[in-house]
Amino acid sequence: MSGLYLPEGLPAPNTGDALTAPYWEAARVGKLRIQKCRGCGAWQWGPEWICHRCHSFDLAWEDVAGQGRIYSYQRPHHPVHPALNGHGPYIAVLVELPHAGNVRMVGNLLGDPRQAVQIGAAVEAVFEHHERADSPFTLVQWRVV
């Protein structure tokens, strides 16, 4: 067993992208890091080169608590990638981060893939390390508190 929620072989994130690398570097060491504008304080996710609110290019990264709540979810059954053939359903969640201006992150909800999912449920971040990837990376996943 890989210890990963989804089978190995799915596309991996390009963690070397200058715009997004700070996020991936933080995830490697178990931190959830979100973009925040130094000009006006707006949180922004995913990262952009400019603040959509005040147009400052001076964007910082800030560590935030790995706590959120489920905003929406889906349970895909139909496999659309060879790595998922025969795997069965899995759960993707959209999680709001109240400690970061309610920005939302996509992830998987760990645990039984057939569990009932409640919109609004509190979840916490789990750092899932993909050590066997060509270029190891860490995904931020979620589990119900």
Binding site: D17, P76, H81, A92
Partner: protein, 394 residues
């Protein structure tokens, strides 16, 4: 000062399409399909293809304008245009762009078209084969959120949750499309009727709201319309379908990365719908015909709501099969079968059907046929919609 509007400045005078095929079944190459649809539209309008002077498309159509102009022997290409964005979000925008070119004198006879051979090229319903993903995809695809259905499903989940809308409302949309297709000789799903039991028993693509029959087909084919200026619109064999309005774009930041658009449970038409009716000088109640792009039935639901055709609070009561059928329903929907059951021609088949309805020549002809709304592929960015009408509402 002259009013800045597209209302009544142009009309569609020709429509054409190929035989529609299941994906991978077309005997013809994609580019040939485009040529067939365009030549058929010219025949319908009684136009010599040499006299076309512009092409407008969307969804990154591979049949580019220069090649089409060369292959058809177009005398002078004056307008070529591609609407940004994937999927069918741009179907109505492409017609609107053709109309804008004609209305402003840039061109005189512009084709808006879509050609698609998913057998020859990649299928839409599959995930990426790339080992590494960048941009927005890096925050989504590693979690198994890859296909169009998966990218949109959580919008539908949240919308249904917020408004207490039941699966049966989505089922009614699917049943209406399949019902209309049964009379349509060019519908891929003709001879494959759908009822409640078959829908309910169909496998999950995605829980909680995407049964198999909530999802569009994947097809091969092409379709085209011909847009000419108002002063020539009455010179052709068929009644003109007047372009009364086109609106395109998206909600505020609806392309924000990683599902961070402020208005998330949305088809992205909230700001577009009102603009569309303003230009048409008509209201949702005037629309006798509704052609609404079904990538997924949940997208249809949100599109209908955001165009003021259904209130979310009454969706469970209004979205029942009988209301959506031609000729008797209050709001006949996708009267040729649409993307679900006629052909996934990226919505251009919906424009053709709206024109047939306005002419009075549709197979499932509705009685109140003076104004038709066509709504392009919901939930992508940008999206677009269109109102066409007869002489009576001009």
């Amino acid at each position: 000062m002259t009013e800045r509007t597209l209302r009544g400045r142009t009309a569609i005078v020709g429509i054409g399409e190929t035989t529609y095929y299941r994906h991978g079944q077309s005997p013809d190459a994609e580019f040939k399909l485009a040529l067939i649809a365009i030549v058929n539209a010219c025949k319908d309008a009684g136009i010599d293809p040499h006299d076309i002077d512009g092409f407008a498309s969307y969804g990154n159509d591979r049949s580019d304008a220069g090649r089409l102009a060369a292959a058809l022997g177009v005398k002078e290409l004056r307008f070529s245009n591609m609407f940004w964005g994937g999927g069918g979000g741009g179907v109505c925008g492409a017609v609107g762009n053709a109309a804008a070119a004609v209305a402003t004198g840039m061109a005189d006879c512009v084709v808006a078209f879509r050609s698609l051979a998913q057998g020859q090229f990649a299928r839409y319903g599959r995930g990426t084969g790339a080992p590494l993903v960048a941009g927005d995809d890096q925050f989504i695809i590693p979690y198994g959120v890859m296909s169009p259905a998966q990218r949109f499903a959580m919008k539908v989940t949240r919308f249904m949750h917020d408004h207490g809308i039941r699966q049966e409302a989505l089922r009614a949309i699917s049943l209406a499309c399949y019902h209309h297709a049964q009379n349509n000789p060019n519908a891929v799903m003709r001879g494959r009727p759908l009822d409640e039991a078959k829908y309910d028993a169909s496998r999950w693509i995605i829980e909680p709201f995407f049964h198999l029959f909530d999802c569009c087909q994947e097809n091969d084919g092409a379709a085209a319309v011909i847009v000419v200026p108002a002063d020539r619109a009455r010179d052709f064999p068929h009644k003109p379908a007047w372009l009364l309005a086109c609106a395109q774009g998206c909600d505020h930041r609806s392309a924000a990365p990683a599902h961070n658009m402020p208005n998330y449970p949305s088809s992205h038409f909230r700001q577009i719908g009102p603009r569309l009716y303003d230009m048409a000088k008509l209201t949702p109640a005037d629309m006798g015909i509704v052609q609404c792009y079904e990538n997924f039935t949940g997208g249809v639901l949100m599109s209908l709501v955001e165009h003021g055709l259904v209130r979310a609070e009454e969706a469970n009561e209004v979205l029942v099969k009988e209301n959506l059928l031609a000729p008797g329903g209050n709001m006949p929907l996708n009267t040729s079968g649409g993307n679900l059951a006629e052909c996934y021609m990226h919505g251009l088949e919906l424009v053709n059907e709206a024109v047939r309805q306005i002419r009075g020549t549709a197979i499932n002809q509705v009685k109140r046929n003076d104004a038709a709304i066509v709504i392009g592929g919901p939930m992508v960015t940008p999206v677009s919609s269109l109102i066409l009408g007869s002489e009576a509402v001009l």
